[in-house]
Symmetry: C2
DNA sequence: TACCATTAATTGTAGTACCAACAAAATGGA
DNA sequence: TCCATTTTGTTGGTACTACAATTAATGGTA
């Protein structure tokens, strides 16, 4: 058991999930630190890589992330010269998010690393077990 | 799929887990807000309720939480008069964490609410599915 | 044209999380 | 007894997350 299942918060699914999440996040974090990025920044890169120059609003939507959260992540990424905010010529309220050279140069390597990490995790379970795990996650994500 | 599985970060398990986590956290959060506490504060209460006056260090260990995180959570809980830090008569470096009346008065009701939320989640899956889900979580938590 | 509701992004605030550095206290060996 | 080491909790710094309030621009309508 994650800890003693008979007491404490360890019986609550929300608690379990948060602990596993932290663990997995740190695993990604330590591996991605080679490239000076965090897991959340990596998620941003994958979307911008596939849709360079997309609107801030659209980026936040695809990342299922509040706009204010994305603002602070982009602030850091811009400081690190990974991405750039550009004015949207069609709407002065809107921003376009663009990949910069520094990110473009590493994105494939980073993606390979992330896929390798995922593969290592999946390999620890049977195909059926992992499918059920993902199905339950999927269902928890709805409503 | 959580979003389109063919692109973006949604294929990475760490991303999926973080999104599901947030969703579940907000579900707990909105329900617990009746009692003016957050999910994390609830976790603290469950441990202190079962071990009133336990050491700060031991509390952090049982919550699998960094000491500095617990410090800030206890700061807020002390301000809300839910718990109290007391000196440890046996070790002047150490602190004992004690439940206060305000928390004691509601803890059973809160626990029932949390168990009801968990029950509602579990009911959406077969016993086998949920067992496999927990087994995978368990395994991800190790190493 | 002037007004107003809507939309886009940022700022402020709060909570969670962790690491490094710190101060105070305990401990243990010389 | 003395001093180095370890332990304990806090502080400071950074990051991620979201909600509420704000600012700026848009777009429709009276």
């Amino acid at each position: 058991m994650i800890t003693d299942n008979s007491c404490g918060p360890s019986k609550y699914i929300c608690y379990k999930l948060s602990r596993v999440m932290r663990k997995l996040y740190r695993y990604y974090e330590s591996n991605l630190s080679t490239y000076g990025i965090t897991p959340s920044q990596f998620y941003v890169l994958t979307v911008v890589w596939e849709n360079d120059g997309l609107k801030f609003k659209e980026l936040a939507k695809r990342l299922e992330m509040d706009g204010s959260t994305l603002t602070s992540i982009l602030d850091r990424m811009e400081r690190q010269d990974l991405v750039e905010r550009r004015d949207d010529p069609e709407d002065r309220r809107s921003l376009l998010v663009c990949l910069k050279e520094k990110a473009r140069a590493n994105i494939l390597e980073i993606t390979n690393l992330a896929e390798k990490m995922d593969q290592e995790i999946k390999e620890r379970f049977s195909r059926e077990e992992y499918a059920i795990f993902e199905k339950v996650l999927e269902s928890l994500f709805q409503d």
